[in-house]
């Protein structure tokens, strides 16, 4: 392997795309923290700021997509390189969609407004915690993992947490539907809160997709890539 000389321009361009993916993840993560804080605290101005700033997430996602396409065009990558680049496009889109779910939660907050909550939140903070952990684990693994074995372990953990969040979401829905059927006055807000839980559940699905994408980059096997959208 003495002849190994790297491929400087491609490696630099790959690093550039990866760095931007990392920045996108940081933006989404901040939006996640702020949107849930704004929700519990009824901080409507913060929610409006998140809705407005979702544009930045969308723009950066498009930028990453264009950049990755340019690298593919300029460098004609194969093997791990092309798996990374196509996955960067995919992951940027997943993060952008997570941004959309957070914007959705912020919109719901502005719609509920200052009206007192109809429920004490128990399961939604649990869902939030699990979804945040899943996003963090999947992105950490995607950006840093070099060995397939490590990615497999992380993915198993993420998949099990996905089941946990699905169960919590079902419980939130059932609880609220039961209460709404008895009290029509809470139907509007109850429906909004079901949407908040739904968005958290969708964020966890996107994190699961990212974990699967890590496996694909490291193993080249796309057979485990399941379209979670079909599960809805």
């Amino acid at each position: 392997m003495d002849d190994y000389r790297g491929r400087k321009s491609l490696d630099l361009e790959l690093l550039d795309v990866e760095t931007k993916i990392n920045v996108l993840y940081r933006l989404v993560n901040t939006a996640f923290i702020e949107s849930m804080d704004a929700f519990y605290e009824k901080d409507l101005s913060l929610s409006k700021k998140i809705i407005e700033e979702d544009k930045k997430i969308n723009e950066l996602s498009s930028e990453i997509e264009n950049l990755a396409i340019n690298v593919i065009r300029n460098q004609t990558p194969v093997a791990t390189d092309i798996r990374k680049l196509t996955s960067h496009i995919f992951v940027a889109q997943e993060l952008e969609r997570i941004g959309d779910y957070l914007r959705g939660i912020s919109r719901i907050n502005t719609k509920i407004g200052k009206e007192p909550f109809i429920t004490k939140f128990e399961k939604i903070p649990k869902m939030e915690k699990v979804a945040k952990e899943m996003l963090k684990m999947s992105m950490k693994s995607y950006l840093n993992e070099k060995e397939a074995d490590g990615a497999v372990e992380t993915s198993k953990e993420i998949f099990s947490r996905d089941d946990e969040i699905d169960n919590l979401n079902t419980q939130v829905q059932q609880d609220l539907i039961k209460r709404m059927s008895k009290n029509s006055k809470i139907v509007k807000q109850g429906t909004y809160i079901i949407w908040v839980a739904h968005n958290l559940e969708r964020i966890s699905d996107r994190s699961t997709n990212i974990a699967e994408r890590t496996l694909y980059v490291l193993t080249g096997d796309s057979s485990s890539l399941i379209d979670h959208d079909l599960d809805e």
């Binding site: 003495d2 002849d3 190994y4 194969v78 096997d221």
Partner: protein, 277 residues
């Protein structure tokens, strides 16, 4: 992802990938077993065993100086013409040892096209008719010339100027003429040593289309430095590598999807992604 280009021909006679990342086939048309090639005292290619399946395109890839051309030239005894070349191991064509066959017969059955087009300084017609004539064919030469030029996708361009000197053709046309010249003696295999490296993109595309078309009825072993070309035209790819002692070895041989999508050997990955070579 990498797509297979020649599904219709894709030979399913593969047996398995052995431990050392080398695919095997039932009834290969060409086979080298434990092949060593020396130039004088210098060992150039070491212990190569490779099988080439019938009616497929196999690409030989690897860094410069790794022994690809040396290997490909063994299959039709072209190395016989190099006085200091010495070959150990066995090479079979349809299970027959090629050293038990007449070398001229071997080269009719296993034709060769080189990097630089090398037409004879004769007319277009004479270039194509040369092989059959040497072979003693006296009748139907016109038909042979026409059908060979048609197979090489050159007929329409030259049918009205067959008596003109081949040197008047463009580089891409000359290369197709050389392919037509090989086809005129009905080979079963064509060896191609970087056949497009001196050609422009359009001529390259025509040769690649020709390779895919020809592989419906014949076997093609092609040396190429162009990774995308190997992906486009071949069903299987073999990667060679020379280590510190500059001795060429076969390190991985498999379906083109695997070699360019997810190679097993790290050295193959480093080569196909452009990080060595």
């Amino acid at each position: 992802m990498v797509e297979k280009t020649i599904d219709t021909n894709h030979n399913s006679n593969k047996i398995s990938s052995s431990e050392n990342n080398i695919i095997n086939f039932e009834s290969p048309v060409l086979e080298a077993k434990n092949l060593n090639v020396h130039y004088g005292k210098v060992l150039a290619v070491k212990n190569v065993s490779i099988q080439v399946p019938k009616n497929n395109v196999v690409s030989l890839i690897g860094p410069s100086g790794c022994g690809k051309s040396t290997l490909i030239r063994c299959f039709n005894r072209m190395n016989d013409t190099i006085r200091i070349a010495k070959i150990d191991g066995t090479i079979t064509y349809n299970s027959q040892d090629i050293y038990q066959l007449d070398p001229a017969e071997v080269r009719y059955r296993i034709g060769m096209v080189f990097q630089k087009p090398n037409p004879f300084p004769k007319s277009i017609y004479e270039n194509v008719a040369f092989g059959p004539k040497v072979n003693g064919v006296k009748e139907n030469l016109d038909e042979i010339v026409e059908s060979s030029l048609k197979k090489a996708d050159l007929w329409k361009e030259v049918k009205d100027r067959l008596k003109e000197n081949a040197y008047g053709l463009s580089g891409g046309q000359q290369q197709r003429l050389c392919i037509a010249r090989s086809l005129a003696v009905n080979p079963e295999v064509i060896l191609m040593d970087e056949p497009c490296s001196a050609l422009d993109p359009i001529s390259t595309d025509r040769i690649e289309e020709l390779i895919k078309d020809l592989s419906k009825t014949m076997t093609i072993l092609i040396v190429t430095h162009n990774m995308q070309q190997a992906i486009r035209v071949s069903n299987y790819a073999a990667c060679m590598m020379a280590g510190e002692e500059r001795i060429g070895e076969l390190i991985e041989y498999g379906e083109v999807d695997q070699i360019f999508g997810n190679p097993i050997d790290k050295r193959t990955e480093n080569y196909v992604t452009g990080r060595i070579g």
